[in-house]
Amino acid sequence: MSQAPIYDLGVIGGGVVGSTLALLAQRGGLSTALLDRGPLCREASGVNAGTLTLQMTRVALIPHAMRAHAMWASARDWLGHDVGVVVCDGLSLAFTEREAALLEERAGKRRAAGAPITIISRDEALRVEPGISDRTLMAGHCVVDGYANAYLTGQAFRAALVDAGVAVMENRGVSGLDRTDNGFVARTAQGPVSFRRVVLAGGVWIEPMMAWLGVHLPIKVLVNQLSVTERIRPVMRTVVGIASGLLSLKQYPHGTVVIGGGWQGIGDRERGGVELVPERLVGNIRLACHAIPELAGARLARAWAGLEAETADALPAAGPIPGIPDAYVCGSIHSGYTSGPSIARSLADVILGREPDLPLFPIDRLMKAAPP
């Protein structure tokens, strides 16, 4: 009987962050195991709105979002598989004076961080996107925008990971993580998995994962509602949002329109997105139909909720875990689908002993003593 291998790296959590990390680490020469309690990219990474916009990205994440945008746009080259990425213009609309002020402030700060966002008039916005309401006052316009087809993420990453030789362990829930002389052992129902280094990349489940190592890192759980129409004739051609960030809207080439924006449903870490709040679904759809009036003729085909992780300061947890050598955390990235691949790339660089081009977000700032 051959001895179970000790992997150079174990990544726990197979969303876009964990999958990107595992892929880059393996390609960088580390034998890597990727464990997930379910199939790859089936939580937030598979059910988010797929928006690749800078106009909903936190200012501190703009450089990562721009690099990740390029990574998504070239997924066929580095991932080798299609995630249905479409690069197009993006508009962030303002319908009221208050929103116009908010838009100018927010676009200005994002522009200062490097995002190529300009403020354009209603008429200019209507030229960029003839589908928008003529009640638009002004718009933030960005040529670096677009979207992916989130539900294809798992399929694409899975194929790339298997091709690269990563040990993909789906449906393998980890119940605990033990430190040993030469690394870590993950306990699973199907037997232990050993590795020298570990990355915890479990999205909203980072908090219980960190507890395995005796580290308390509070992670808030957002329950984002989303909805999609059936296939309809073209009613829009760009990514459309509003100044406050409470709307994301785009029509896929096959005709469905996905509506997001982070309206909150009911759910938690243990049970997932349990329930949608009808009034909030209606509110989100009213907003969408206000922005793109022709959308009102469509039918709702499906609505769902996905969990998003948020730290106390709403910035990522990405870096070494203080006090535990060879252990790292990566996740809780605001609009994590947009920026995730870039942050994962920076952490992969660190693990591979390279200087990252873009900075990580070490968690020392977020650490609290474990509750007694």
Partner: protein, 475 residues
């Protein structure tokens, strides 16, 4: 505006209507909601308003009786409503004739019925090919024949009901193509004989079919439907006892309609959305909620009854509905233990008496795995998204291990029918390709809306300023 009540019943078929009646008789304020304009469900449908036709048969009588009792009851009937959201404990959101509506009650009875299973074959998407259940709607509620010359094919009792219905209305049946051999029906006779009244009805269908001298092909299945823009012919061939095609002479029947069905699949969206525990029961048609003898699900104060909880047929469903209604009333404190037992015991007995018959009927309508295994690679399985069997197989080979992952890989089940038409067969294909159980493959994660719902009706008229937009995300 929210209409509060003691108990909501979703689905006004035999099960839901009986549940509503039983709960209302015990003093509960009951709201009964359905999409159709009249109670009765699919099997006991009323004729269209303003249409009169000669009606006879047990279903017509049973349906009319049910509607009369409902009309005389205190149940608040909200028909012609499309319920799109179910949540909380419990709230239903609907669109009705006057726009958006909402209902709230501490108890909910789900009685949403079943839908037809059609195991795909080449040409099944051609216009003119319809379900057997659809054909019964045309015949019984609309006095319409499915075509001038109709091939009736598939499995189960609906086959004979539809053929006999066409003949009775003066139509032409080109052929009856029954997957089951004569032996299969002979074996079912003892079970069917437990309900002589219903067996008699079945024999009546057979008699009229014999009288019309319609070609009857036992042990045969549809190989394909042919035609350019509409069905023009059906080619049939022999199948074995498991439903797999076998070598033998094929026959071609010219026709302008094919009515085809291979049994029923429990709908059961509501208990799935509310996350009640389910189990797979092939005899009962698929995944069904775990229930106690009275119809209580594993979610407190959520009840389920009727064919949505496993295929039994309309009459046993009506009895199960009454039980669920009694249980809801008892749990609400309106029927004390003595009264509940007095009412529930004979009802339980009535349900038990139906069991051999219901099992026999369900057996005739259960999925035949060998028939699914024989679907050809190019055949479309998901009608909405045109996903073929070959694409489903390829997704499984690429690592899709359960039904929802396969959906993500292929868009199978993502279309507007929400996976109803293809779900049972698609899951069976994944299970067979992987060599695992249906439990391993699972069922579609159920989402709202329960049916596609038009945005404009959902959102009504509004002022932008009144949209309760949450505070902006951090910058």
């Amino acid at each position: 505006m929210i209409r509060p009540a003691d108990c909501l019943v979703l689905g006004a078929g035999p099960a839901g209507t009986e549940a509503a009646l039983a709960a209302a008789e015990a003093g509960l304020d009951v709201v009964l909601i359905d999409e159709q304009a009249d109670a009765g469900g699919q099997g006991w449908r009323a004729p269209l308003s303003g249409l009169t036709m000669p009606r006879k048969g047990a279903d017509a009588e049973a349906g009319d009786g049910l509607r009369a009792r409902l009309a005389a009851s205190g149940v608040d009937r909200r028909l012609g409503r499309r319920v799109w959201s179910v949540g909380g404990a419990f709230r239903l959101d609907a669109v009705g004739p006057d726009g958006a509506e909402a209902y709230e009650a501490p108890r909910l009875v789900a009685a949403t019925g079943a839908h037809e299973r059609v195991v795909p074959f080449p040409g099944w998407t051609l216009p003119g090919v319809i379900g057997l259940a659809g054909a019964t709607v045309l015949l019984k509620a609309q006095a319409v024949l499915p075509g001038r010359r109709v091939v009736v094919a598939g499995a189960g009792p609906l086959l004979f009901a539809v053929a006999a219905g066409i003949i009775a209305k003066g139509g032409e049946v080109a052929a009856i193509v029954d997957m089951d051999g004569r032996l299969a029906w002979a074996r079912r006779l003892p079970g069917l004989a437990r309900r002589l009244d219903l067996l008699k009805e079945g024999l009546g269908w057979t008699w009229s079919i014999l009288g019309a001298r319609v070609p009857f092909l036992a042990g045969h299945g549809v190989r394909c439907a042919a035609g350019r823009s509409e069905v023009e012919a059906v080619i049939v061939g022999p199948v074995d006892a498991d439903g797999a095609p076998i070598a033998g002479p094929e026959r071609r029947f010219a026709c302008d309609a094919l009515a085809v069905g291979h049994g029923l699949v429990p709908g059961g969206e509501v208990p799935k959305i509310l996350r009640a525990a389910h189990l797979y029961d092939r005899l009962r048609g698929g995944f069904i909620p775990e229930l106690d003898p009275y119809g209580r699900t594993t979610i407190e104060n959520l009840y389920a009854c009727g064919d949505g909880t496993g295929i039994r047929g309309a009459r046993p469903s009506a009895v199960a509905g009454r039980l669920a209604g009694l249980a809801a009333a008892h749990d609400a404190g309106r029927l004390d233990a003595t009264a509940f037992t007095a009412l529930a015991e004979p009802t339980l007995q009535a349900l038990a008496d139906y069991r051999p018959f219901a099992d026999t009927v369900a057996g005739a309508m259960a999925l035949k795995p060998a028939q699914v295994a024989a679907i050809t690679p190019a055949t479309v399985v998901c009608r909405c998204e045109d996903v073929s069997r070959a694409e489903i197989d390829a997704a499984v080979d690429a690592g899709a291990g359960d039904i929802n992952q396969m959906k993500h890989f292929t868009r199978c089940g993502m279309g507007p029918c929400q996976g109803r038409m293809c779900g049972d067969v698609a899951a069976e294909l994944v299970a067979q390709r992987r060599g695992v159980t249906r439990e391993t493959v699972g069922y579609w994660t159920q989402r709202v809306p329960l049916r596609p719902v038009p945005f404009d009706t959902m959102i009504g008229s509004f002022d932008y300023a009144d949209i309760p937009i949450p505070p902006p995300a951090p910058l």
